[in-house]
Symmetry: C2
Subunit: 639 residues, 2 copies
Amino acid sequence: MPYGYNGKILRVNLSTKEVKVEEHDDYFYRTYMGGAVLGAYYLLREMKLGVDPFDPEALIVFAPSILTGTPAPGFSRHSVVCKSPLTQAIADSQAGGFWGPELKFAGYDAIVVKGKASEPVYLWISDGEAQIREASHLWGKTTGETQTSLREELRDDKIRVLAIGVAGEKLVRFACILNECKHANGRLGMGAVMGSKNLKAIAVRGHDKIKMQDKDTVIKWAKWFSQNFMDNPSNAGLHDLGTGEGLMVLNKDGQLPTRNFQTGFFEGAEGISAETMHRTIFQKGEGCYACPVKCKRVVGADKPYQIDPFYGGPEYETLAALGSDCGVSDLVSVAKANELCNKYGLDTISTGATIAFAMECYENGIIAKEDTKGIQLNFGNADAMVKMVEQIAKREGMGDILAEGTKRAAERFGKGAEKFAIQVKGEEMGMHDGRVKGMVGFGYAVSPIGADHVVVEHDTDFDFNAPDIFVEQMKSLGLLKRCKTTGMDYQKLRMFRYLQFHFSFMDSLCLCVLAFAPVRTFTMAHLVAIASAVTGWEMSLWEIMKLGERRINMFRAFNIREGFTPDDDWLPQRIFEPIKTGPREGARYDPDELKTMRKLYYKIMNWDPETSIPTKAKLIDLDLPWIIDELEKVGKSVR
Amino acid sequence: MPYGYNGKILRVNLSTKEVKVEEHDDYFYRTYMGGAVLGAYYLLREMKLGVDPFDPEALIVFAPSILTGTPAPGFSRHSVVCKSPLTQAIADSQAGGFWGPELKFAGYDAIVVKGKASEPVYLWISDGEAQIREASHLWGKTTGETQTSLREELRDDKIRVLAIGVAGEKLVRFACILNECKHANGRLGMGAVMGSKNLKAIAVRGHDKIKMQDKDTVIKWAKWFSQNFMDNPSNAGLHDLGTGEGLMVLNKDGQLPTRNFQTGFFEGAEGISAETMHRTIFQKGEGCYACPVKCKRVVGADKPYQIDPFYGGPEYETLAALGSDCGVSDLVSVAKANELCNKYGLDTISTGATIAFAMECYENGIIAKEDTKGIQLNFGNADAMVKMVEQIAKREGMGDILAEGTKRAAERFGKGAEKFAIQVKGEEMGMHDGRVKGMVGFGYAVSPIGADHVVVEHDTDFDFNAPDIFVEQMKSLGLLKRCKTTGMDYQKLRMFRYLQFHFSFMDSLCLCVLAFAPVRTFTMAHLVAIASAVTGWEMSLWEIMKLGERRINMFRAFNIREGFTPDDDWLPQRIFEPIKTGPREGARYDPDELKTMRKLYYKIMNWDPETSIPTKAKLIDLDLPWIIDELEKVGKSVR
């Protein structure tokens, strides 16, 4: 067995009920490495142009990486890659937890699923053995019921279960996938893709460990992390308060998304803050595989809602999306909505953003009480927000329309609703305001997957707690100084591109951003050292940065094939409108700047500046010459 | 004082006799780092378009790097950068030895010289103090006499002397600069540039050591190198036989440049082989600062020539250029010619190649006995070869024409002599046949400095002794497999580009190729570890590869400014003609392939494919936006 990976990929065809094992060599694994890059490989190779995400022919790939399961913090994640029902573009969403490592322990580096089962099924993988099993008894069940049921019927309570809820079954376009009922591959509707295939869950159990070439080095750095992460103020904050730690700082700075991004200052922010959570409903912190940070929150309450601690507590994105963005300042209501999202398998960001969108439509008379079955869908109505979560998950009433996401719902509503749909390519915007964080706005626009929250830390101002650590760590990338993040600036574009590669390789290697982003505890040198120790390859940051670049180019190639153009790299109208109130009042993103930056970005990527198609030279540079053929064969001109 | 560097650059104006110290910050040193990149920075910033290399306004920069003087093998070198009198393009030539480290110990990171002294002078730098001193007594002296004289008059026999000989004084266009009378900044005529400025020598003495952030790590790897380099067959060969170790292998394979590159098989190769040297004239091995490999040869003989061991022995390039390429199989004659080159300050490669050119002209009736003052300039005439070296150095007789280099001499001779001038951009070709080593041929063509021997190891087949080490080390660059090196192949182009960056960063950091090239003892991970330990910066291979790319782009920008075009990226006619005899008979480089490869290379570099001007995007990517202005201000369109 090689170091770091198993050399085995599980291929599942749900239509034919075939399960087989595919093997690849070292060259394959060192080129694609895992996660989003491995997923994109299969989508580009095997998924035909124009196949609908819900078509049986659509692929969905579940992939940890060559480093996943390594017993050091930050190596716990897996990616799910498919074509998104929300954007019709390539989709990549990551989850932490325990499922990715378990899949590795069970002998596989990835699962590639296609086809559609005639009846509900689940996949059971146990120490290399894989079975497609009947799941009618699980259909309609919550994620928690599903997990409990599977652990019982398979008689092992250490089984790791990845499952969808009713939202995925009902093809809600932003349904998510959960493991442990609280770690979500949240975004872009991949839960609905599982649902469309009648695939309720993937249960995994394995007893192997990752084979490492130099375990001592890995353990050494794992220990070092544990001993040192609290010295880093950003990470200490994560440990103490969870990812919501910065919410009040953002609000104070006037950049907390509020009332569907109308403003950046929320007068009720205190109510949904991490500090308030800590003081009131917080029970304990929890972590992912091998991580001492324990940034996850477990919360409980009795009123106004009873909160089941089993489903975890709200992250920053959730606090903002279901809280401030809906004008809701009641933490327990937000926690309840979070619980429902995790039970039913809904992405909390798109859910919150879609409800906020509906609220603005409601307040502007685009939809009325008769449409909402009497729910007063005003900003700030916490009960209405919670009710809407339930309706969306079950596609009841107005929820059936909102379940299509803001872009489609706006088309359905008409009457100018489009301007309230805060989305890029169909994906609702993460809870970071692109008007204030210049590079984030640009990142939303050009991201192949949409306005994803993972582009966030492209912004240098974001890491307000530890600017010196940030600058110091970026130097390894050759980024030697900070630059202004608003307005047109060459340094900014350069920094954007380098950090884009950086964030992209974290997703390709399934690394936790909270362990590995600049400003966090592990540096890039640590990553190179650990990755080399795991694999026995003498890896370099060059090789790893190129992996990040490879992912972005593969994603771009997939979208190009599907017909995307530079026009799709654009921002929603709201981001060009001024922030209405607060310290950042008046801030807006300049569309001319976006146009100029976008063209220069294509050039710096060595893409065709007119079409954004990666050039032949760039695809060769990334050892992807076969993509030239893939594009040319569908009539795209690769120059 | 910062780690690794002094923060001080010595500025010398020989016209005004001004000497001053310039200081730069950390940002500057981490961007430009030293060597060729630092030199190119000054040339681009301060040398006006079209200034002749011999004009007083021309700059010449002597630069070790932030790592030079580090007490580990391979960090001994310094670069000289100027505009070449041979090519009128930018020139970069490296020397090992002891001078670069000594300059660092004396407190400086580089010396930037401009102007012209009214009388011969030398520069004396002692522990930070710098003086321009009178040198009329040294003018006309050999390098050995100069060194001895300076050590006497400055009363310190540990002074390190970099000097020119009579060839530099007489503006021979391929005059070199020597330190210790045997380590040469050999190529491209920089000795003549010193001569044109009446600058005979630079004597240096310093008592500081390099300040290192983590000396223990550096020492640890230095020791590791000493203990392990003999396990690597390539390096053991270097130690035992010197750089000539592979001569017989090349000959056996039919690729030893013979009789002005007419063929690749030399029937007299045995006579000039490293093995023969070892058995006959070899006295001992010698090394550079802090290096245990000791690949330099010390040789001595009495007849047919008396050889002074003081001037060292012939390297591979010298054995081939003055030996096989002239059809000469007598080792003592080659060693004598080598001694004369080092005494008079002549580049052995261009000297040998120019004599070989003259021999072919002679045999084809382009020049005759009356032109050579009776010397029978046939291939194989060892005495004639030795005599011509003397005549070139002193510009006597025919030597005066040959001192202009093959390109200019061919123009002077006319009668089709041009086809016998084996040069690119005016620089005589290194002793590696671009017809056989596909990537080397291409490297000669697109190299900004000409057909330099340092492009050689771009060829994957070259390292015949240890192919597995080679492949293993390349993987850190993301080059995962060998590719064919002849014919058009995407993998080849990609490998070429990555290895070009690699060789370029070695020149930028003034690293020894024989310690750091793939296949040698130190890996890229060692480099990153040592560089980080020296500087205290957390460096990465990404950053270092980008440094290599920066050098190539800066060089290209300089040449573009001077009017170079893609037409200059071309090979001499001979390389398109078949090899005449031997195992590789018939091999030729295909000009159509060169044209196709060249365009694709420009694209993969993100340069304008029509003009080869680096794009705005690429210059931004490399943090060189100021070069956009430098180019635009002389009317070059940067797209």
